[in-house]
């Protein structure tokens, strides 16, 4: 009993840090969301007006939907590409280390650098992608990658997937490393093809890695801000205006700290809900397999 109490005592410093730097700011933000604070001077109470505005305006509901849809696209793509490259590299030990480093390099670059480079690549006038397509005789495939509202979101998502495929690949490679070799050996002896070994032997055992990868990429993507901001600033005409961009615009563009706080609380609720549901589904799936 005494030992158990001692164990709890050891968690106090960590709890203190979490309380001070995580819980307390959230409570302050929640408090500010009921005001019309402009970042300086006095904050006047406005009750639920900020939340009422969020719920009653199509614009903000559309941003919530865009943020969720963007997350679905990016997380799905990152999981598939990460798994694909990890499965390939698991079978190619000679180039595995070099390839893993090469794939991970974009993730180590600054968002600003990546954003500006891809902005030039995507430029409709003389951008790298359109020029390359033209030179390859594929001029018909040229697009206004960031200027066409129907594809701008996917262009931004592609850049994010390009940037973080190495990250998910590294997670899955670690998962592959944890699979006993005997299982693959047994599959080969039984005559299973490479795809069959992957589908029926390796994939179920990669459950924990899938959980970690999906959870981390979901949480990171839900609050993503830098790439959409640099590439499109939420345009064209709101086609890529995620919730995070509107929060920053209200905070430092319009000095509506109170309203931005309300948007932040809404985003926090969404992130927590998605993370909770996802964790439950994935863990149940792990336990079932």
């Amino acid at each position: 009993m005494r030992a158990r109490y001692s164990l709890y005592l050891f968690t106090l410093p960590a709890l203190l840090v979490i309380g001070l730097f995580f819980v307390h700011p959230i409570l302050l933000t929640f408090d500010m969301s009921f005001t019309n604070f402009a970042g300086i001077g006095e904050a006047k109470e406005v009750g639920w007006r900020n939340y009422d505005r969020i719920i009653s305006r199509d614009r903000y509901l559309r941003e919530v939907w865009l943020t969720l849809w963007y997350t679905v696209i990016v997380v799905s793509a990152l999981t598939v590409t990460g798994l694909f490259f990890a499965a390939m590299l698991h079978r190619l030990p000679l180039i595995r280390n070099f390839s893993r480093a090469a794939l991970y390099t974009p993730a180590m670059m600054s968002f600003v650098v990546v954003g500006y480079v891809w902005q030039f690549l995507y430029s409709p006038l003389n951008g790298g992608i359109n020029v390359a397509l033209r030179d390859l005789g594929l001029g018909a495939w040229e697009q206004n990658w960031l200027g066409d509202p129907s594809i701008a979101l996917y262009s931004v998502a592609f850049t994010q997937v390009w940037m973080f495929t190495g990250f998910t690949c590294a997670i899955f490679l670690a998962g592959f490393a944890g699979i006993p070799e005997e299982i693959g050996e047994a599959g080969r002896l039984e005559g299973a093809s490479s795809w069959q070994r992957f589908r029926y032997l390796e994939l179920p055992l990669l459950g924990p890695s899938v959980t970690v990868s999906v959870m981390l990429t979901t949480i990171g993507t839900l609050k993503t801000f830098e790439l959409p901001f640099i590439l499109t600033k939420g345009g064209p005409d709101g086609a890529t205006r995620l919730l995070s961009i509107d929060i920053i615009d209200n905070l430092f563009g319009q000095y509506k700290f109170g309203f931005a706080s309300a948007l932040s609380i809404v985003m926090l609720v969404i992130v927590l809900t998605v993370a909770f549901l996802q964790n439950k589904v994935l863990r149940d799936r792990e336990n079932a397999s």
Partner: protein, 410 residues
């Protein structure tokens, strides 16, 4: 033996006390989003001159990027530990001044009556002037004269007809005539053709007293955009989402496009490109024959209410108010003086723009004077982009959004 030693000691002590009594120089804490290597704005030279003229004051200039000023300065203002002088623009004057954190510089200041009347009027709130405006910076068309020459044109277009003719001629030669990105360049044209310099004040729209949706001027401005499209000035769908701050200037620098609506702050950048022969011209407008200069009221100096060295801060402000010193700043900035009749320090390539200003063919950009609220600016950017993507949609689809934004701001 003891008496001489005592005398020496007494003299030494007196000398030490006297040195201490001659106070150390006052260190003036100045914060600005200019003065670094990328944007010196003549500040290093001016600091040296100021310190030479005021040996009792040392300047400690801290560069803080404009986007970081919102985060760095308010806590200092509220904590009672502000810089002695801070650079501000109209939005910050409204915010910080409105909260009572800036000092009234006094409408009896010697420089106050010399200001351009329109600038003086918008900067004075409730009988107080909380900022010394340093510059008025132009926004108009950058025109590549070599590309125009290839199309047989030797003059920057300053009327709508000249612009349309130039576009046609350039297009016939296979030269991309114009950048018209929705985010900023398009706004300049729409503003220049929606705001009559001798007509309705932008403040009427900004206050909600007049609506955009039924307004003849702004409907005509959007129709004017369609006319430019018909004259093959640009492909609206291709350019709607073009980035106006990095990609668009780069296209102009590379000589890929003949006309770029942008701000005069790009003059130094473009002038550094070898072989780029360009002029800075006013925006063609249906209201005037010599083009309309779109003047943006630039940043200025403000003294926080709780500044520790107010007297020294005032000397700093007054130093910049002297034309000889201000001209150093303006020349480096490529900007115009805030004084009526102030000497122009603009280069010859800005002659068309300067000529329009001299002919009083100008408006103060309403977003810089806060006659249009900030929320309307992002709505203009978004909605004009949307308009370019669907150029045949009714004008009211765009103009209504501006009216909703005005409502939201109130």
């Amino acid at each position: 033996m003891t008496k001489p030693m005592t005398s020496v000691f007494a003299i030494a002590l007196a000398a030490a006390l006297a040195t201490g009594a001659t106070a150390a120089p006052t260190v003036l804490d100045v914060v600005a989003w200019k003065g670094n290597e990328a944007e010196p704005a003549g500040l290093p030279e001016l600091i040296e001159a100021f310190e030479a003229a005021h040996p009792d004051i040392d300047i400690d200039l801290t560069f803080v990027a404009r986007k970081d000023v919102d985060k760095v300065i308010p806590p200092r203002l509220q904590g009672g530990n502000p810089p002695d002088v801070t650079m501000v623009d109209s939005a910050l004057v409204d915010l910080w001044g409105g909260a009572g954190f800036l000092t009234d510089l006094g409408t009896d200041s010697p420089w106050y009556d010399r200001m351009i009347p329109a600038v003086r009027e918008v900067m004075t709130r409730d009988g107080q002037i909380l900022v010394y405006p340093l510059e008025v910076i132009g926004m108009g068309n950058f025109v590549n004269m070599d590309l125009l020459a290839q199309a047989g044109i030797d003059k920057a277009p300053v009327t709508i007809d000249e612009l349309k003719s130039a576009c046609q001629a350039l297009s016939d030669k296979g030269i991309a005539p114009m950048i018209f990105a929705g985010g900023f360049p398009a706004m300049l044209f729409v503003g220049a053709n929606g705001i009559d310099p001798n007509g309705i004040s932008p403040a009427e729209y900004g206050s909600g007293a007049r609506q955009f949706v039924d307004d003849a001027n702004f409907n005509a401005a959007l129709d004017g955009v369609r006319d430019l499209v018909a004259a093959e000035c640009f492909d609206p769908e291709l350019q709607a989402g073009l980035d106006p701050w990095a990609t668009a200037p780069q296209e102009f620098r590379a000589g890929n496009v003949a006309i770029l609506p942008q701000g005069a702050w790009n003059i130094g950048n473009f002038a550094a490109v070898d072989g780029l022969n360009f002029q800075f011209a006013p925006m063609p407008s249906r209201y005037v024959e010599q083009g309309l200069a779109l003047d943006l009221v630039g940043p200025g100096w403000a003294i926080p209410r709780d500044a520790a060295h107010k007297d020294a801060a005032r000397k700093w402000v007054d130093f910049f108010a002297e034309e000889a010193n201000l001209d150093v700043f303006l020349r480096a900035e490529g900007a115009y003086s805030p004084y009526a009749g102030g000497v122009s320090t603009m280069p010859d390539l800005a002659a068309p723009y300067t000529a329009a200003r001299d002919a009083n063919s100008l408006i103060l950009w309403p977003f810089s004077t806060l006659e249009f609220p900030k929320i309307l600016q992002s709505e203009w950017e978004d909605s004009i982009t949307g308009f370019l993507l669907n150029i045949d949609a009714p004008n009211e689809d765009t103009l209504e959004r501006w009216d909703f934004a005005i409502e939201d701001s109130m």
